[in-house]
Every structure is written in C-alpha cells, then in structure tokens.
Amino acid sequence: MVKLYSQPSCGQCKMVHMLLDQKGIEYSECQDVDEMRSLGITHTPTLEVDEKLLVGKDIINWIRSK
C-alpha cells in the first residue's frame, strides 16, 4: 500500500509522481493538510509505504529499489 502526500505546487511531489509512474507503482494520493498534520507530516512529498512514512532521499531510494 503506497500513498503519496503532496501539495499542488510542490515540484518535488511532481517528480515523485513521475518516478512512481515510470516504475509502474500503484499509489493513492492525499492533499488534505489536516490529515497530513494529524499524521505528524510537516513537509511534502511524504510517501507512506506499508504504514511507514518516507521523506527526502529515502523516497528516491525506495522507488529506485523497486
């Protein structure tokens, strides 16, 4: 289960979209700020993978490992 937390004008979010699509990874997306805050998310993009939250370079590394 992969979920991308993003904001509309976030360039890095757009890049994560592109990388996920390139790898054919299925994911859902959330842009609800309140939901993000309730999970303790302070920055986007944040990628939830099997209930673990990945940020920064960890997102890239995870996608590349797929």
Binding site: S9, G11, G56
Partner: protein, 641 residues
C-alpha cells in the same frame, strides 16, 4: 482613437524627446530602472495610459459581478480622490514573485514556451536560468526572485567538479594554450554570465532589466528551507559547499561593482537569531555579513527569531498561520510574492478623518481612526479580491503559464495593502494637536513617543487584523510599507494640489517611519523607529535604509546588526553613495568630489533609489530632488552606537 487622444499622444512624444532621462520622460510610471532613453522606451510609455483604462475596467467588471454597482462607484471615487493608489496599472499581470526553480530542473523552459530542456550542468543551469528570469519577468509587472540560485548552482558544480570542488578551487581543470583554467575561473565566469545577462534591458519590458532578487542563507534558514529536499537525481543540498559559494559570489560581486554600476541582482542575506540569547545563531555568516558591508558591498539583511519566517516550497501551511516574510523588492523565501498592491494614502485619509469626524462640531457618533481605517481597508480588500478573480480566470484559461508550470501557486501569494504618507499624516496631527483625541496629542516622531505608537497601532494593526479576518483559502492579504518610487511623488503632488496639508521641506512622501532628510535623527534612533514597536503592527515588508556618509568598520556594522535584533528591525541595508567617474569610468565605494583614479571632478553618484542601485542621473527629476535632500549620517555620529 479619437482626435483628442491622438493629439495627446503626439504631445507626449514631443515632451519625451526633450526629457532629461527616461524616468523623467515617463508621464505614467517613471522608473529609474531604465538607463537608456530611446524609441523602445518611448513606445512602451505611449500605450501605458490605455492599459490603465483596461486595468480599471477589469477590476470594475469583477467588482460588479461580485459586489454590485455601489462598490464599483466607490472604487472609482477612491481612485479619483486619491484615497488609494493602485500600483502598476499599466500592466494587467500579477505583480511580483519569488519562484521555485524546481519545475525548471524537471522540464527546462518548455512549459514557458522556451526550447531548452532540463539543465544537466552548471553551464546549462546558469544559461537557462537567465532565460527563465526573462520569461518569468515577461509575465509579471514587478520583481522576480530566485532565492534558490546559489544552492542550485552549488548542486550542479558538485555534479560537474566533484562533491569537494570547494577544496580544489585553484586547481586546473583544463589548459588552453598556456592558460590554466581553474574551478574558480569557471565559477567566476558563471557569476559573470548570470549578472551581466540579467542586467540587460528587456525588450518585452519597455527596456527595463528584469528586477531580479536573490537570497543568501545562514545555516538555520538553509536547514529550514531545504529540510528533506532532494534534487531530481536524488542529490541533497549541501550547506558546507553552498556557504562557500555564497561567500565567493558576494566577494566577486562586490569587486565587479567597482567596474560598473550593476543594479541586479538585489541581494538579501537571511540570518536567524536566538530568541533567548538575542544573538545570531550562525556567527560565521553574521560576521561575514558585517565584513562585506565593511568592504563596501551593498545588500539587505533580513533577520528573525523564527526559522519558519521564510516560506519554503514544501513546508505544510494552514489558513491561519502567521504571514511569512514577503517584500516586493527583496528575497527571502520561496513561492511567495504579491499578486497586486493597492496603497492607502495615509496623509489624505488622516486629514479626511479629522475633517469629517473630529472637527465637525455637531456630529454624533464620531468614528475613531481605527473605525475610519476599517471602512477603507474593507473596501480595498474587495478591490484586491476583484483582481484575484481576474488572475484566477487567467490561470484557468491557461494564460498564466508560470503558475500553470508550477513555479508559483496563486494561493501562496499575497494581495498587498501598501501605505504611504504615514509620517506626513502624523505631522498633520501634530499641527492640530489641541483638537484631536488625547491618545494622539503631543505626537513626536520618536521611538518612545506614546502618541506616535498609538497612531501606528491604530492604523496598521487595524489593517493587520482585518487582513487576518478576511483571509480565506484563496485570499491572503498583507500590509507593506511600500517603497513608492512613483506613488510617493504623485500622492504628494495631488494632495498639495487639492489643498491638503503637505510638508514644505519635502517634495514627496516618505517611505519610512522617520523623516529621511532630518539630520537630527541618528542611525540607531532610525533603526528603533523602523523596529518592532512600529513594524510589529505590519504583516508584510518594510525596509530601513541607513544612509551613511562613509563606510563603518566590520565591528561597527556587527554592532549595528546586534542593535537591529534589540530594536526588532528585521529588514535593512546601509547606503554609502558610490562615486562614478564620468571621464574614466572608475567607481569608488566612497562618496568623493573627484575621481580617485584620474582626478576628474566630472563625477556622478550611485545609490539606492528605493531598493535598487542606480546612478542618480537615472532617477526621475522628482527623485533627484529627494536624493539631494537625503541625510547621510557621518561616522562620528554612528559611533554613538
């Protein structure tokens, strides 16, 4: 076009031909950011009055749709009576922007109609960035900030020359004949390419160079802005190398400015201080800041105790958070700016309030100054909202391609209420001291004067509270002490013509909380007047220009930086006029009556007109008069601090 309009335009051409410079020749929007007067600048001026009509028609169209005819008529009345001044009406574009460069890294310039793909090396990054700035500036009326310029350049330099390139600056990369090309040469060539390119006049902007801002960060702000950031190749920003690159750029730029008067980029150093110790957190960058001023460099300093005070592209925001630092002429955070600026003519508003509410003998239910300001501000919010609707329509039709491409988000920019004529309003109240409410009596323009503080609070905090009250997901307001390059002069002239009190010792309205021409105000007093007791009422920008006759030592500048923390003066710069020799071209960082190189007394001076550096001979005639009246404090006086 009817005969009368045509005749007016032909007359304008005749007047322009004999004007002393481009700024003076402009009837609508005189701007010193045009060094040469030519047929292109004249052509750009020719259609400005038509654009103003279109601009106002657009605002009225959206006002009518949302609020009805009464508000349209009120808008017309406020403009006609110079209660408000709508900035850059000769453009129908959004005002100013601090963009994220990330879309450029992903897709190059193609989404903006350019041909370049995503940059892969330092060379293609700088070349593409220059083109990007011109493309973005073509869609905005005002400034374009690229705060990420140096952190991104650092990324490409590490890609090209290794993660440790700063340790090998003087090692040869290749040889051309007998010349060894080092990493330092390559970096300085890139600086040169960037700076000279962005200072080129832009054909699409009436021969104005794009007003370009860049930022420097200390470690605290760098960490805050680039937390969890990654470049498209997965690389992360590097503080240690970016720090060195920032220093290299500042040193190089300062030296380059002895060869030519280089206006752009306008630079802002951003320093974080500790709220407990009241000391700068990154002492190395704070010391370097003072060092650069002592070496004669001219740039702004933004300082704050909040790491979140600068916007980041990716930090989560909510609807009620405090406004981030945003100033129409400076750079701090990323993805911010103003969609539109409408300025309140405070001097006229205060006099109208006095005449309509205070001085009417038999009037019941007199409005207080905050109540009077509330009515006007609420109207201006509607006018700004109309412009916001216009921009959203443009966006939805795909016409705002800078937004469509993701460089900026309409919801992240402000609708800005400017103010001008502030101290003149206070000076007027002083002249009617016996007839005004007691809280404003015995007003003196001094840091500890309770009447002046009450006056500032009642006007500015009222606007600030309304800005917050009227905030929605799509409407974000702020208040700015606008530089008012043109507005200050126009409002003064109109008020004088219409019988309002204006100070005789000034030819335009001040853009500060102190009288800029008065020699009795020392630099420290002015810093407190431009400090938290006054700018604390603002939710937008303001700038203190500390005009000095001569440069201070590094230690003196460092001391003033500490005083700025105590005063709560968050944005300031030091101006020491540079001497430009008209004969040999030499530029001295000092104010001299002759050229120190060739001895000629045919010299001009370069100083900041409002926020940007220009030769005084490029200023409009009104601004040249004002420049001559500015008081530049001498070193002995500054030693008081």
């Amino acid at each position: 076009m009817d005969e009368r309009t045509l005749s007016k335009k032909l007359k304008f051409i005749d007047n322009y031909k004999v004007a002393t410079n481009a700024a003076t020749g402009s009837e609508v929007d005189s701007n010193a950011n045009v060094s040469s007067k030519n047929i292109a600048t004249m052509s750009a001026e020719l259609s400005k009055s038509d654009f103003i009509d279109v601009n106002r028609a657009i605002t009225k169209k959206y006002l009518l749709a949302k609020y009805g005819q009464d508000v349209v008529e009120q808008f017309e009345s406020d403009l006609k009576n110079h209660i408000i001044y709508s900035h850059d009406e000769s453009s129908i574009m959004p005002y100013c922007v601090a963009i994220s460069l990330y879309p450029f890294l992903l897709e190059g310039l193609k989404q903006l109609g350019g041909t370049s793909g995503a940059p892969k090396h330092a060379n293609s990054f700088v070349g593409g960035l220059c083109n990007l700035i011109f493309l973005v500036a073509g869609q905005f009326a005002g400034a374009v900030a690229v705060p990420e310029f140096l952190p991104y350049l650092d990324h490409f330099l590490r890609c090209d020359y290794g993660q440790d390139y700063i340790d090998h600056l003087d090692e040869p990369v290749w040889n051309i004949g007998n010349n060894q090309i080092t990493v330092r040469h390559i970096i300085e060539d890139l600086f040169q390419e960037f700076v000279y390119c962005i200072n080129q006049p832009a054909g699409a902007r009436g021969y104005q160079s794009p007003f370009t801002n860049i930022a420097y960060f200390d470690k605290g702000y760098f960490d805050s802005i680039f937390k969890d950031f990654f470049f498209p190749d997965g690389d992360e920003p590097c503080w240690e190398t970016t720090k060195v690159l920032q220093k290299l750029f500042m040193k190089w730029f300062n030296k380059e400015r002895t060869h030519d008067v280089i206006t752009f980029p306008v630079e802002t150093m951003n320093l974080l201080w500790d709220k407990d110790t009241h000391e700068y957190v990154d002492k190395e960058m704070a010391d370097f800041t003072a060092e650069m001023w002592a070496e004669g460099h001219s740039f702004f300093l933004y300082n704050s105790d909040s790491a979140d005070a600068l916007s980041s592209c990716c930090r989560l925001k909510n609807a009620i958070e405090e406004n981030v630092f945003s100033y129409t002429l400076g750079a701090g955070g990323i993805e911010t700016g103003s969609k539109k600026v409408i300025t309140l003519n405070i001097n006229r508003i205060v006099q109208n309030w006095f005449n309509d509410e205070v001085n009417k003998k038999y009037k019941r239910n007199r409005k207080s100054l905050p109540e009077y300001i509330t009515e006007i501000t609420s109207r201006v919010h509607k006018y700004l909202e109309a412009w916001n609707d216009h921009l959203w329509d443009m966006f939805n039709c795909g016409l705002l391609t800078v937004y469509n491409a993701g460089y900026i988000d309409l919801d992240k920019q402000y609708l800005t209420i400017g103010f001008n004529g502030f101290i003149e309003g206070a000076e007027f109240l002083r002249s009617v001291n016996d007839y005004i409410p007691s809280e404003y009596q015995n007003l003196e323009i001094l840091p500890n004067n309770s009447a002046y503080k009450a006056y500032a609070h009642d006007i500015l905090s009222t606007i600030k509270e309304l800005n917050l009250a009227h905030r929605t997901a799509h409407l974000r307001f702020n208040t700015e002490q606008v530089p008012a390059e043109n507005a200050g002069n126009k409002l003064y002239k109109w008020d004088k013509r219409d019988g309002y009190w204006v100070p005789a010792n000034r030819n335009l309205y001040n853009s500060y909380f102190y009288p800029v021409e008065d020699p009795t105000y020392d630099p420290v007093t002015k810093m407190y007047l431009q400090g938290k007791d006054f700018i604390g009422n603002l939710d937008g920008g303001s700038a203190y220009h500390c005009n000095l006759e001569e440069h201070l030592s590094k230690e003196q500048y460092r001391k003033l930086m500490d005083i700025a923390i105590d005063a709560g003066c968050s944005y300031f710069t030091f101006n020491v006029p540079n001497t430009v020799c008209n004969k040999c071209g030499h530029i001295s960082k000092h104010k001299l009556d002759h050229c120190e190189k060739c001895g000629s007394d045919d010299v001009d001076y370069a100083t900041r007109i409002i926020g940007y550096l220009k030769k005084i001979s490029n200023f409009s005639e009104a601004r040249q008069v004002e420049a001559a009246k500015r008081y530049y404090a001498n070193i002995e006086e500054s030693d008081k601090c």
